[in-house]
Structure formats: C-alpha cells, structure tokens
C-alpha cells in the first residue's frame, strides 16, 4: 500500500512538473515550491505555523467528534431529540464557515476561541450526521440481546451502539477531519497571527504562489497523517468485522 502511495506521489509530482514546465498555467514548479519550503523551514515559520494550525484543528476536531457522538446518539435514539435538533444541524451544515465568522467575532472576540469554534462546528456538523445514521443502522437484534441481559439506554449506548456503529462514526471522523483542515483557512481569517491558513492568506495578498503552495501542501500532508492515524485506529476498533 505504501509502495502504491509512493507511486501515486511520484506520478503526481511528475505531472505537476510537466504541466508547469510547459508553462501552460501560471503555477510554480515543484522545485520552486520545494525551495520555498526549505526557506520557510529554516526561518522557523513553517514549523510555528504548522503547530499553530495543528493545535487549532486538533482541539476543534476532537471537541467536534466528542460532542457529535452523543448528540448523534440522542438523535438516533429519541425521536423527540431528533425532531428538535435535526433541523438546526441540517440548516447549519449548509452554511459556509465564512458566513459564520462575523457572528463568531461578535460573540467570541478575536482570540483562539472563535477560530476553534469554527473548526469545531465543521467537525461536529459532519460527524453528527454519520453518527446518527450509524445509530439508526445498528442491528436491532444486538440491542435486544443487550436489553434482555439487563442493559439500560446508557449502557446500550456505550457498549452496543458505539461499537456497532464504529464504521459509521469513522466515516464521520474522517470526513470531519477533512472539513476541519479545510476550515482552518477560514478560521484563521479571524485575526490569526500565525498558522498555515494565515500564511496562505498572506501569500494571497502578494499572490506569492510558492508560499500558498507550501501552506496548502503542508495542510494536505498534516491532514493525510492524521487520516492515517484515524485509519489505524479504525482498523483496531473494527477488527471484529468480517470485511470484504
């Protein structure tokens, strides 16, 4: 798998080099971007930006998942909760993070809180749908089996619904992770002083494409690494499944 990943990577780089050296589009070449990356690393900016964004994404993302799982359960389990919560979730999912920002600034100022909140929202809104679907897809027989052994709702949630819907929750977690990273750029519009999204916007001010690309690629790589971690966790958590 890793081998194939590398093949894919090399192929992608080759394609990029080809396209840019033909000069068809005004993009920087891989070499230019690589040089910029070296420069950013040696100035220490890339590392501090990456750490700043990583901290925001991790916090927002973990909070988002942590809230989404119980809320998804409530919605899947209690029709009343579902009726009350779902319209809001559906509604806010269609609203772009950019539109949330003014509201976040008004209510939360310009510190770390609104930035993390915007990321939290992105992670939460995607994961909650997956968790909800997972909860309603749990095989009824397993729930019945737990109930006849004396389990109450809380236990069933923790010991049956969560493990049984892990594959669904994982979908939410993976998509939520992507959304979190994709949202960090918007979040760092809120008076960020460092961060990959912030740096990218600065690059946009001067249309400094190498800087933009270094930020984008760093975001991509960090996202990819976190995704691999999630997959590894998933593999451990769903080892019980008979997979195709």
């Amino acid at each position: 798998m890793i081998g194939l990943n590398i093949v894919a990577l090399v192929f992608g780089l080759g394609f990029w080099q080809l396209v840019t050296s033909l000069g068809v589009v005004g993009l920087p070449t891989p070499v230019q971007v690589f040089n910029q990356a070296i420069a950013s690393i040696s100035s220490g900016l890339l590392v501090s930006d990456a750490l700043a964004s990583l901290a925001r994404v991790l916090t927002g993302f973990i909070l988002g998942i942590a809230v989404a799982v119980p809320v998804g359960f409530l919605m899947g389990w209690y029709p009343t909760a579902r009726g009350l919560i779902e319209p809001y979730i559906q509604f806010f999912r269609t609203i772009p993070p950019l539109a949330i920002i003014p509201l976040a600034i008004v209510t939360m100022g310009i510190g770390e809180v609104p930035k993390i909140f915007v990321i939290f929202l992105a992670a939460f809104l995607t994961s909650v749908v997956a968790t909800f679907q997972g909860v309603i897809s749990v095989d009824r027989t397993l729930i019945n089996a737990a109930r006849v052994l004396g389990a109450r709702d809380a236990t069933i949630f923790r010991r049956v619904v969560i493990p049984a819907s892990t594959p669904f929750i994982m979908v939410g977690v993976r998509i939520g992770l992507g959304s979190s990273w994709a949202t960090v750029v918007a979040a760092e519009l809120i008076a960020a002083q460092s961060g990959l999204g912030f740096r990218m916007q600065q690059g946009q001010l001067y249309y400094d494409l190498p800087v933009i690309f270094v930020s984008l690629i760093t975001i991509g790589i960090l996202g990819l690494i976190m995704d691999r971690i999630v997959i590894a966790a998933d593999r451990r958590l769903t080892a019980w499944q008979e997979k195709a």
Partner: protein, 257 residues
C-alpha cells in the same frame, strides 16, 4: 399458586404494506407454572418466535398481554434470559467478553465475573476459544456461546428459541442433560422452542403444540415421564407413544377456530 408466566389472549399482527394484515399469532393463551419446563413445537412460521419475543418484552402484542410474576410485561429484563434463534452475539467482543456482558451489568466484581464466565464457557465446550471473536467461530460454536451468555446471568426464567438447533447430536444430548440438571436444581421456569419432536418430549413437563395460519395454540400434551430423564426413558415405549402423539398433533392440526 399463580402461574409464573401467563399469556392472556395474545395476538400479534404484522402490517406489511400492500398485503392483507398478517396474523402471526392469534389469541394465544397459556399459563406456565413456576418451575415448569415447557417445550413449544409447531411448523415453521407458526409464531413460536413471535410468542417468545412477546414474553421477552421485545415485541409488543397487538392485543392481549403477557403477565410474569403477576406483573404485565412492558419490556425486557435480566430475570428473563433469552437465547435467540439467530444467536445475536456481540461481534466486537470475544467469547469471554460476550459471556461476561450480562455479569458486568450486575456489577459483579471482576474476579467473580471471570470465574462464572469461565465456568459456563467450559460447560459449552468453548474453553479453548475464550479469546476468539465470533467471526472465528463455527455455527455451532456461536450457538454455544450464546447459550453460555444466557446461562451466566442465572435468570429465573429461560426463554430459549431453538437453542440446540445447530449442534451435533452428542453436544446436544450433553447440553440437554445439563439444562435439565440446573433446571431442577435451581427451580427455573423454561420455555423452550424446538423443531425436534424427540427433544420436545425428552425435556418437557408439557409440550405446547402450535399450528399455523393463523399462528395459534393447537394443543397441550402432558408428558407424564419422571425426572431425571435418562437414555432408558428415551428408549421406553411410553416415550415412543408420546412422540407419536406430538408428531400427529403437529402435522394433523385441528382446523382453525
């Protein structure tokens, strides 16, 4: 003395869009005494599982009610152990964890829990598979795991839906005898569904014969044979007579009421 379990005119219909209402169970009434062993036989699809699920509190009757210990059944509870026709093991738990599931809920300390679980795992012959996940078990082994899980919580009432259906003959006989032993020793009440007429007669105080379309009680046959049941009894002419009687009852049912 009041019956332990009392089915009072229990009916259950299924409403499948576009077809006439289907009567899976029609005015089913039955009293099961405390400490009684009842087996239920009847053609496939006659409502045996439906009746049992209603008693377990997992299915709502369309009309009528089931009363257990004088209280109407509203939902499931650990005092009524259930073995499902389709096993229903938790696929993410090992055999031991499956068996310990009910014990955990009773807050039994770890050490004790382990002991009890190991006892029942051993009883059903899965000692070497305590750490196996359900997907690694054969059909019969899954069924045995489900049996151990139900036994472990030590319920006063056992509702068993074809629990020995997937077992080979020897294991089956062993588990039958094992079940009869604990039943008599600990005064359990058992409702046991089977499609094996031999098994029905061998285990029961009374055999309940059901008929299909609509699913209903057809007849109750008293098994006058003494406990403990032995291989000798199984080979006796009385046994053969009862067996034939049950067989005839199942396959030449009276016309629907």
């Amino acid at each position: 003395m009041n019956p332990k379990i009392s089915f009072k005119d229990v009916s259950r219909t299924f409403d499948v869009a576009g077809r006439p209402i289907f009567k899976a169970l029609d005015r089913f009434s039955l009293d099961i005494e405390d400490g009684e062993f009842i087996t239920v036989v009847g053609p496939s699809g006659c409502g045996k599982s439906t009746a049992m699920n209603i008693a377990a509190g997992l299915l709502q009757p369309s009309s009528g009610q089931v009363v257990v210990d004088g209280v109407e059944v509203k939902g499931p509870g650990p005092e009524r152990g259930v073995i499902f026709q389709q096993y229903a093991l938790f696929p993410w738990l090992t055999v031991r964890e499956n068996v310990e599931f009910g014990l955990r809920l009773q807050n039994i300390p770890k050490q004790k829990r382990r002991e009890i679980a190991d006892h029942f795992i051993d009883l059903v012959g899965l000692k070497d598979f305590a750490h196996a996940l359900p997907k690694m078990l054969s059909g019969g082994m899954k069924q045995r795991c489900a049996i151990a899980r139900a036994y472990a919580v030590n319920p006063k009432i056992l509702l068993m839906d074809e629990p020995f259906g997937a077992l080979d003959a020897l294991t089956r006989v062993q588990l039958q005898d094992q079940l009869l032993q604990t039943w008599s020793k600990e005064r359990r009440t058992v409702m046991f569904i089977t499609h094996d007429v031999d098994e029905a007669v061998y285990l029961a105080n009374r055999v309940v014969v059901m008929a299909a379309r609509p699913g209903r009680l057809d007849r109750i046959i008293d098994v006058g044979l003494p406990y403990p049941r032995t291989e000798e009894i199984r080979l006796s002419p009385e046994f053969a007579t009862l067996r034939n009687e049950v067989w005839r009852a199942v396959y030449h049912p009276a016309a629907a009421a």
